[in-house]
């Protein structure tokens, strides 16, 4: 839903999916997690100064295992590449986080970029979430292969997505702003076979 900005008085903010009702089908629900803060962090994880500075801000070591992620309070940190991480925060909390990261990392080679408005996140939840996502996703999402906490970029038909398993049957899918409507329509269409009569 469009809503008032907490940062700029009088300004209404919305995402490409604002105004869409959640999709409810038998065994799967699709909702948007709008306005999450998203930050791309890059740096050399093997540099002790970099690792220590990031840890002082996040309160935990950066995940260095491919496809892994971690949660610290309301912050989720995802491994994106050996020198790149994606961080999700609550709405607008990324602003303070970026300030803190830049301060802690001053003088250290890094890149901290606010990508909150570049992507939005969909939540695909329920026992049929895997069946639905398998209609367009090339990654094997079977529980023996894709475990809770794992995260990866991949393709979803024509779109590039970033997908993570938040909980047993709960997938969070990050998609480019301009592709959000495409993914939403694709998932809505895919869920029709389980739609209530």
């Amino acid at each position: 839903m469009a809503k008032a900005s907490s940062l700029y008085p009088g300004v209404t903010i919305e995402t490409p999916l604002s105004g869409k009702d959640p999709i409810q089908a038998d065994g799967v629900t699709i909702t948007e997690l709008p306005f999450l803060g998203k930050v791309t962090l890059r740096g050399n994880a093997a540099d002790p100064a970099f690792a220590a500075a990031v840890k002082s801000v996040l309160g935990a070591d950066l995940p260095t295992q491919p496809l892994s992620s971690l949660r610290v309070g309301n912050i989720r940190v995802f491994w994106k590449a050996f020198d790149e991480w994606l961080i999700w925060t609550n709405e607008d909390a990324q602003i303070q986080l970026i300030t803190d990261l830049n301060a802690a990392l001053s003088g250290i080679r890094k890149s901290v970029v606010d990508v909150s408005d570049y992507y939005t996140v969909l939540r695909v939840d329920g026992a049929r979430s895997r069946d639905l996502l398998a209609k367009g996703c090339v990654v094997d999402l079977h529980p023996r292969s894709f475990k809770p906490g794992q995260a990866t970029g991949t393709g979803f038909h024509h779109a590039t997505i970033f997908i993570t398993l938040a909980d047993a049957d709960t997938f969070d899918v990050m998609i480019r702003w301009s592709f959000a409507d495409y993914l939403w329509a694709y998932l809505a269409d895919g869920a029709r076979e389980w739609a209530p009569a």
Binding site: K80, A81, V138, V139
Partner: protein
């Protein structure tokens, strides 16, 4: 379509990757000092291998990193991949181009048991 092994993310569908041509072709350090023939060779001449081919790939849709890989150009099966700057792995001399390095390892372990 075939599977490509990213040195970080593991075996993935080929559609997640982009191909970057033959690997280990060094750009001439002094392009102005070499002949047109040599420059032409650098730009255009490739081995056109039938068999094991070292080539560059990038995991466009996931980690976005470049790496090198060995692929059999007849069967389109990738043997293994390796990070930039590392030496190429050597498939066994009798490699039939039908199994990848991980299958090979599993088969070898199975045979031991």
């Amino acid at each position: 379509m075939f599977l490509v092994k990213c040195p970080w993310c593991g075996w993935r569908d080929q559609t997640e990757f982009s191909y970057g041509g033959e690997a280990h072709i060094a750009r001439p350090l002094e392009p102005g000092q070499i002949s047109d023939q040599e420059w032409g060779d650098y730009i255009y001449t490739r081995t056109n291998t039938k068999g094991i081919h070292a080539e560059r790939w990038v995991h466009t849709q996931a980690c976005g990193r470049w790496f090198n890989a060995l692929r059999h150009t007849v069967t389109d099966v990738m043997w293994d991949s390796y990070k930039m700057g590392e030496d190429a792995p050597t498939p066994p001399k009798d490699w039939d181009g039908l199994t990848c390095c991980d299958d090979h390892k599993k088969l070898a372990e199975g045979a031991k048991k």
